[in-house]
């Protein structure tokens, strides 16, 4: 699976689930948690979405706010378990 496909899927999920403003331009390098754009709990549901979508199991201890702070870092994390 290509990086950009994963990236696109995550970007769409975040926009749809967590961002109210449709005009907000989210990029793969935008800071998500540290900027306050999404709260830290969002990573719990995002992790579950990713595990079901890509049939992977991400260890809880690897799912840190730092690892979920941008779409780029999330892709890097997912790739370790694909």
């Amino acid at each position: 699976m290509q990086d950009h496909e994963i990236k696109q899927t995550i970007l769409e999920y975040i926009k749809q689930e967590y961002i109210d403003d449709d005009s907000y331009e989210l990029s793969s390098s935008s800071l998500l948690i540290s900027s306050g754009l999404v709260d830290s709990f969002s990573m719990v549901s995002l992790k579950r979405f990713l595990e079901i979508k890509y049939k992977v199991s991400i260890p809880d201890e690897k799912a840190t706010p730092e690892a979920f702070d941008s779409v780029d870092s999330i892709v890097e994390l997912i790739k370790q378990y694909l």
Partner: protein, 494 residues
Amino acid sequence: MDFSSPVFLFIFLPLVLSFHLVSGRRNWITTLIVLSVFYYAWIEPVFVFPLLSIICANYAYIAVYHRNNTSIKSKKVIKSLAIIFNLLPLLICKYGNFVLHSLAGLVPALDGTAALLATIPQPLGISFFTFMNISFLLDNFRAEPSSRRNLREIMLFSLFFPKIAAGPIVQFNTFTKQLPLPKKNTWDNINYGIKRFIRGLAKKILIANVLGATVDKIFAIPVSELTFALAWFGAIAYAIQIYFDFAGYSDMAIGLGRMFGFNLGENFNYPYIATSIKDFWKRWHISLSNWFQTYIFLPTAFKSLRQFKKDTYLGIKSENWSYFLASFVTMVLCGLWHGANWTFIVWGFYHGLLLIIERAWLAKMLKKKNRLLKIILTQILVVFGWTIFRSPNLVSAFEYFKPLIGLSKGNPVLHYFPMYWDNKILITFILGLLLSFPIIDTLKGKLTNAKILKHHFVDICSRPVIAACYYILFILSAMQIAGSNYNPFIYNRF
């Protein structure tokens, strides 16, 4: 010898700072460890050796855990053993008496042991020390075996005197990645550190302590005699006192850390402008909130969500159930962390409940509402929480709610409102209320952007004025310390 005591201000700090300036960098870590041990031993001579033993044991746990021939089963045993070993002093000294005393109703024989445990004093900063060491262990158990671990750095991390009594709770990697300390900017760091320390000292001495004496008087009045106005004045004054007490302490700790070249992170961000309870916890005691988020909230949420097999239960999404459970568990434990008393547990329970209500419907209901309305509503809820936190027991706490919501009229003749405030209290109350909002920061931002202040000449002229302001603040604080015996540190007890 807390940070606002004369011994610390006029003997210990000047000596340590002079030492810092004249000594070389080569043995600076060792020197800081020795000074930190001396500081702690001055206050708690009996507990220094247990603390040092825990640190050495933690170093050994990590070393054995990461040895090549340690099996997975042994690793699990080591991990559990290490956590229990670190929690044990906290459980015995802080909660032993409370638990046994609560159980003594069922098993009267426990009353004797509870009385025995009550005689063991609670070591200074034991909760902060324990939480920092547990985070050190958990982070290092999951880290690569080759990660940097050095006994001297672990000792400095655990004992560094600016943060040992009441935080901020810094993570091991955040602290040690600042080592070795930079050689440059020492004067800049000392200059910033002194200013930050004086700001904290003034918050603590000139606002928190002044209001604290009045708060004590109001909370000592029999609740049936409290009037609506006096009850609200007491509750709001306590909200200001606890904020300025702990934010003041944190400023002093952060300032001290910076004087020695460390950035300890921020602990407060104007919690009384929070627009929701969730927002409040992002702004209040940030280092503790982060600790609970990393080690309790997220693991509980991940684990509980895995247990839910369906997407919804009773029409509520599984994610939301998981959030409810994690928030509830986290906040009750957070309440318990503050002390062995039912008031703290119920205070945590109350905040957990508010977080659940907020997520379930309140946040959606208030989404389009005015920001000021959201701030006022949030702060009313927070103040109700503080009355639980401040009261000596649950009965007094709930009794205090009666005058707050107008259910008890009190005795306005016996407790004539102006009896509890004079000009000094009134000015301090208003000042505390105003400074709870980011007025100075906003003003500073505007002045920094003003063209005239960018002029080099104006910049140079403003420096002595700023220095004079800090000098006056320090003199006023020192005069207040000299003239008063009232100097409690609320968070030192935790």
